[in-house]
């Protein structure tokens, strides 16, 4: 239980937040913290646990966003069906990316993932009959759970909280299960893992496909929440970077890390957007510079992320406490 204390506090606070306030801006921030945290967790399955760092996860996010929006607009189908379709398509796309991960290493793999998202961006912005091209698709709002037309921010908060919990549990599974340990072996040293009987290539592909499907689900929820799908946003490299950034800043390969990263980055972005645009319209976009600096500082000084830094702090404190006890006796 102790190892989940952080998650219990975090998700517990989110759950009781609506009791404290009904402020739409505040609740919106919490919904997005959970949403981006969950999607970064999905990235973390491939990028953190399997060590396959992708900067193209917006591809899967976009597939999820579009699947639901297109099915709803053209065939009036429930976004839940779109969610399923998006996940299925993303598994296929994930298998392709997974195959590439066994052909390309390090920076070449990263470049391939970026290119993949760019290809989908072009496809989505040109396939006008289906996607309405570069104008984007407004997602029709129909009240009800089956149509994912949730009028209140509070309902959205609980839906994203449930999604976040699922992602947290998926990651915990990857820390305690046979597959998780084997995946850790592959991440640490693929040759050694293979020598010990682990089908490294297959495991990497499975992890990437899982990661893709979960990211896609996040894309569907996000599109339904925001109500509009713009190809230049959902397939953007900015978004891919954001997924990776949250996880890396929080602590890649840890279940809580992506959520910690999201708390920091999402609230920072909300705050900066509001204040900077108040000061001068020209300052929009400055938050990206601040992200960049933050990332450099984190990678340079706390490479294990916030989780690592907090963990080290606790250990040091425990040590000093023990030291004091020893000194007294």
């Amino acid at each position: 239980m102790r190892r989940h204390a952080g998650a219990i506090v975090l998700f517990g606070l989110a759950a009781v937040a609506p009791l404290a306030t009904r402020d739409a801006y505040f609740l919106d921030t919490i919904v997005l913290i959970l949403m981006w945290g969950a999607i970064s967790s999905a990235w973390n399955v491939a990028g953190g646990y399997a060590g396959q760092v992708s900067l193209g996860h917006a591809a899967f996010f976009g597939i999820g966003a579009y699947s639901a929006a297109v099915l709803t607009v053209h065939w009036s189908l429930s976004p839940w069906i779109g969610l399923g379709l998006g996940m299925a398509l993303s598994v296929v796309a994930g298998l392709v990316i997974g195959y590439l991960s066994n052909r390309l290493r390090g920076p070449y793999f990263v470049l391939a993932t970026i290119a993949f998202a760019q290809v989908l961006l072009i496809a989505a912005s040109r396939w006008r009959e289906m996607t309405m091209g570069s104008e984007g698709i407004p997602v029709p709002f129909k009240q009800g759970f089956w149509t994912l037309g949730l009028a209140s921010k509070v309902s959205w908060l609980y839906l994203t909280l449930a999604f976040a919990l699922v992602l947290y549990l998926v990651q915990v599974y990857l820390e305690v299960s046979r597959m998780g340990y084997q995946l850790a072996g592959v991440r640490e040293d693929e040759d050694a893992a293979q020598a010990l009987g682990i089908p490294g290539r297959r495991l990497k592909v499975i992890a990437i496909a899982m990661s893709a499907a979960l990211t896609s689900a996040g894309g569907t929820f996000w599109a339904q929440y925001v109500g509009f799908v713009d190809p230049f946003y959902v397939f953007s490299i900015d978004l891919s970077v954001l997924f990776a950034l949250n996880a890396i800043i929080g602590g890649a390969g840890t279940a809580l890390g992506p959520f910690l990263g999201s708390i920091l980055i999402t609230s920072l972005e909300h705050y900066l957007r509001a204040t900077l645009s108040d000061i001068a319209p020209g300052l929009i976009g400055v938050h990206l510079i601040i992200y960049g600096c933050l990332l450099i500082v984190m990678v340079r000084f706390v490479p294990q992320g916030l989780i690592g830094a907090l963990g080290a702090l606790f250990i040091r404190r425990a040590r000093t406490a023990r030291g004091e006890r020893l000194a007294r006796t």
């Binding site: 850790a184 050694a192 893992a193 293979q194 010990l196 682990i198």
Partner: protein, 239 residues
């Protein structure tokens, strides 16, 4: 148990292993020696499925291994260690060994229990919770062995597990290898430390420029003029 049938592996114009044939019987403790670049590690890489030979076959317990991926070969009961040890650096010693055990055991709890026994057996008991990358080289070599043993091999290929050890560590490692052999694991050992390999093994194969130049019992090998010329430099005396 293991048979190599004129195995050849080339890298571009260089023949790393040229037509090597070799038989290992169940219960053997075979040594492979030879100067640097003789093709010893390449031979292991071919047997364990990391390289595909240009010609020849590797047969393990009647099954042709050529073209099988490394993880399948391990599952068939043939495990190798790496000369340049490859610990899972950020994981604990116990978790390293446990990952090996998970190849045979599905339950994590059972694999952990088995790992604890394996860690103990290889003299790593005090380091079970230590992160593998912080181990000194002597202990890393032992971890490499412990992890490989956790996959329950019937044939184990040891690639210089004694290199870089101090005399005390060396003696312990020789003792450990003997015990593993006594427990029924067939061993093929690549080694440079002549004193150790001469005492440890019953049969030695000498490679030079990718070819087998001699095979026999240690005393015979030490006196073989071809081996003395290519590798030993002067007659190696067993006291």
């Amino acid at each position: 148990m293991l048979a190599l049938e004129s195995v050849t592996k080339r890298f571009g114009g260089l023949t790393a292993v040229g037509g090597v044939s070799l038989d290992v019987d169940e219960g053997d403790l075979l040594g492979i020696i030879g100067p640097n670049g003789a093709g010893k590690t390449t031979l292991f890489n071919v047997i364990a499925g990391y390289y595909r030979p240009e010609s020849g076959r590797v047969v393990f317990e009647g099954r042709d291994l050529t073209g099988h991926p490394p993880h399948e070969i391990c599952r068939l009961g043939l495990t190798r260690t790496f000369q340049i040890v490859k610990p899972f650096g950020n994981l604990s010693v116990r978790d390293n060994v446990m990952i090996g055990a998970l190849t045979r055991v599905r339950s994590v709890a059972a694999a952990r229990a088995e790992a604890d026994r394996g860690v103990e057996r290889c003299g790593l008991g005090d380091y079970a919770d230590v992160v593998a990358k912080s181990l000194p080289i002597g202990l890393r070599k032992r971890l490499e062995l412990a992890r490989a043993l956790a996959t329950r091999p019937r044939l184990l290929l040891l690639d210089e597990v004694m290199a870089g050890l101090n005399p005390a560590e060396l003696a312990a490692m020789v003792e450990l290898i003997r015990r593993v052999h006594a427990e029924g694991v067939t061993l093929v050992v690549i080694e440079h430390i002549m004193a150790a390999i001469m005492r440890l093994t019953r049969r030695i194969v000498v490679l030079h420029h990718g070819e087998k130049i001699a095979e026999g019992v240690p005393a015979q090998i030490a006196r073989d003029p071809k081996v003395v010329d290519a590798y030993l430099g002067e007659e190696f005396t067993l006291e």
